[in-house]
């Protein structure tokens, strides 16, 4: 069972190698002549005024929080979905109750305007 996952682990290592090797080769093969103008952040021709890590819209946080909620919901749906034929009507109804509660939450956030971007 677990040895089925060994090729997967090996593949992840190969994936990392495919990332590291071109960077190393590129560093060796390409020219390397840094100067202060080249190394400054891109800012349409003038010096950067302030740190780029500025304040940003709170709605991005909201999206992140809502994402966690719904992604967890999907994580619950996955095991339910693959055994639905075995658990039958009872399993179906139980999940409908769960989904119903979440839909109430979804409607609430919609009405509150959490999904508005204008």
């Amino acid at each position: 069972m677990l040895e089925n996952y060994f090729p997967v682990l090996l593949f992840i290592c190969v994936g990392l190698a495919v990332g590291v090797v071109p960077l190393v080769l590129g560093r060796l093969a390409a020219p390397h002549r840094p100067d202060s103008a080249k190394l400054s952040p891109y800012e349409c021709g003038f010096e950067a005024f302030e740190d780029a890590r500025m304040k940003f819209d709170v709605r991005y946080y909201l999206v992140a929080i809502l994402f966690i909620l719904f992604d967890l919901e999907i994580a619950f749906l996955f095991p339910w979905a693959i055994v639905l034929k075995e658990i039958g009507l009872f399993g179906f109804l139980s999940m409908m109750v769960f989904l119903g509660i979440l839909v109430v939450g979804f409607i609430y956030e919609w009405m509150k305007g959490a999904l508005e971007w204008e």
């Binding site: 090729p7 990392l16 990332g19 590129g26 800012e43 994402f67 639905l84 179906f92 979804f106 204008e118």
Partner: protein
């Protein structure tokens, strides 16, 4: 069977130089590991070549759709263009801005490309032609494609550039939003297939009626949502707000150059091909022929799989040539107010449909 043939060929080849015995005493004890590595290389190399030539096909298709010929100077019909582009990127300086977090700045492209490639471990190309035949295949795919967002957000943060930062938060919000719709669409496939093993999902679409047994028939809205969410996940036009060149220069990879940029580029295209492969496996019957009669089911399954992938990839390019870019509020509205309700309802519809005797798939 295949393994024995490869071993035989290697033995014959290295015996020509008289190296076989010394080579085997070195490699022999670790042969299972070497064999797995060879299979991984046999997946990664075609994927990389596919990426290179997808860029060529993209430029050709866009060219012809705009009444131009596209690249035609480097090699016959411009066929060596991707090689020339690769060599050019390879010879360019890798710039690491002074204000950046150097470690994260270098780690970000690696974090992008590694999951984009690693997800291929569980994709079946034909019956039994899969590297890791694991039970939780679809869960693994979902995990790997979700990791891609780290590469983007770390790149935007580490660059310490306003354009990169804005591109990264836009892109992260977009990717997580569309991942939800994608997840619900996958739940519908799981309901139909009753398995997370990608090979079993394809076998579940095998039946007497050819393509009418494929899941895109009962799950048609989910197929459309999955494809559009895939376009948004890979930051492709018309959802390419993360690299909206007329507003935020190049988005999260503004500060990247040379090979560090090339890795993001490779990751984006590898993800496109992955989405195409998954759409074929989950909805279009993977390696199965569209009609199960004589001339069609004689053709190897790999051919059908690649044919379906090419079709989906052509749709990607067609979308790019046809539609103008979405505005950010339209993008979020489509994700949250159209796709999530639609997919939620369809999960309920499919689950209820399965409780009745009229579920035929």
């Amino acid at each position: 069977m295949m393994e024995a043939q490869v071993l035989q060929f290697l033995q014959w080849f290295w015996n020509l130089f008289g190296f076989w015995d010394s080579l085997w005493s070195l490699v022999g004890p670790a042969w299972p590991l070497v064999w797995t590595l060879l299979k991984i290389v046999a997946i990664v190399v075609p994927v990389m070549l596919g990426v290179a030539y997808l860029t060529y096909v993209e430029r050709k298709v866009l060219g012809y759709m705009q009444d131009r010929v596209g690249p035609n100077r480097v090699g016959p019909y411009g066929l060596l263009q991707p090689i020339a582009d690769g060599v050019k990127l390879f010879m360019k300086e890798i710039i690491i801005p002074t204000g950046s977090n150097k470690f994260l700045f270098i780690a970000a492209p690696i974090l992008s490309i590694a999951p984009a490639l690693a997800a291929w471990a569980v994709v079946p190309f034909a019956d039994g032609m899969v590297l890791a035949n694991v039970n939780a295949g679809l869960l693994y795919i979902l995990a790997m494609t979700s990791l891609g967002v780290y590469g983007i957000i770390i790149a935007g943060w580490a660059s310490n550039s306003k354009y990169a930062f804005l591109g990264a938060i836009r892109s992260a919000a977009q990717i997580v939003s569309y991942e939800l719709a994608m997840g619900f669409a996958l739940v519908c496939v799981l309901l139909a297939a009753q398995s997370m093993n990608l090979g079993d999902i394809v076998r579940g679409q095998h039946g007497n009626y050819g393509m009418l047994n494929w899941y895109f028939i009962p799950l048609f809205p989910m197929f459309v949502v999955y494809f559009i969410a895939g376009v948004a996940e890979t930051n492709r036009s018309p959802f390419d707000l993360a690299e909206d060149e007329s507003v935020i220069v190049a988005g999260f990879h503004t500060e990247y150059s040379g090979m560090s940029f090339a890795l993001f580029f490779l990751a984006e295209y590898a993800n496109m091909i992955l989405i195409a492969a998954l759409s074929s496996v989950l909805f279009l019957g993977g390696w199965l022929p569209p009609v199960d009669i004589a001339p069609f089911n004689q053709i190897p399954g790999l051919f059908w799989m690649l044919g379906k992938m090419s079709f989906i990839l052509f749709l990607f390019l067609w979308l790019r040539a046809t539609f103008p870019r979405y505005r950010y509020d339209q993008l979020m509205r489509l994700g949250w107010k159209v796709f999530i309700p639609l997919t939620l309802v369809w999960v309920v519809v499919v689950a209820a449909w399965m409780q009745t005797p009229y579920w035929l798939w």
